[in-house]
């Protein structure tokens, strides 16, 4: 399966956590988050999908944002993770790893004959 064609429900489930992880790695802005997700192999995440996720994370108190003047552009909205966001990321990352390990235990190996 090509990297940019993951089932939509997988991406919807993991996107908030991946976006939070991208912002937690460094203070950043929307387009850079989209590039980071694409470089990680999650495919192209359009603005119409990304910004509602960023806004929800901000409403939940996991991110804060501020506008800064861009170099010749119209300005960028930078996002920073909060202490609550970092804690949430650590908790959910651990839970996600347990979850995917359990799911993996149920699935046949990709190389095993059917």
């Amino acid at each position: 399966m090509p990297d940019d064609n993951w089932p939509g429900e997988w991406l919807r489930a993991v996107l908030p956590l991946c976006v939070l992880a991208a912002v937690a790695a460094e203070e950043t802005y929307g387009y850079a988050v989209a590039q980071r997700l694409q470089a990680a192999g999650l495919g192209t995440v359009k603005g119409g999908t990304l910004y509602p996720v960023l806004n929800r994370l901000e409403e939940e108190g996991f991110l804060t944002s501020s506008w800064r003047e861009g170099a010749g552009g119209p300005g960028r909205k930078y996002f920073t993770v909060t202490a609550a966001g970092a804690e949430h990321l650590a908790d959910r990352t651990s839970a996600w790893q347990s979850f995917t390990e359990r799911a993996e235990g149920l699935l046949p190996s990709a190389r095993s004959p059917r």
Binding site: G30, G47, G48, W67, G75, K77
Partner: protein
Amino acid sequence: MSTDTATYRRDLLRALRSHHVAPDRIGEIVAEVESHVAETGETPVEAFGPAREYAAGFAGPRPLGARLAGVWLVVLGAACGWLIANGVFGLVADERVHGMPAGVALALGALLWVPPMIGQLRRQLPVADPRTGRRMTPGPAAVVVSMTVFLALLAAATWLVAVLTV
């Protein structure tokens, strides 16, 4: 700003207002779209989908009070139009309107236009661009002027019809 972005801004502002999104949030949402497409080189529709569909994702429940106020303002607007039209016809024909002088009906009609104007001013609070602090939408003066001009045009059109038919 390209034509695509300017058109999208106008459509998105209108759609977000129709969903009763708070002015501060509207400013943020529009600025995010413009900032993002300036970075990616995409058109706003490519990146965010049609403005109406993107705006629908931010819609909250419309309070009952706002719905009732909307109905009340439509009723007042209709009464205003009726009084203005009858007042103008009364003036041209030199007749009373339901027992009152035509000028009084005209003045009453104009007075009934004030609550819809206030309602419109409250509904269309200016949206500020969070990047610059400048307004993204016309200010209250533009709302008052446009609604006053609309009423004056209505009265003028009615007067023309009255002169031609009475």
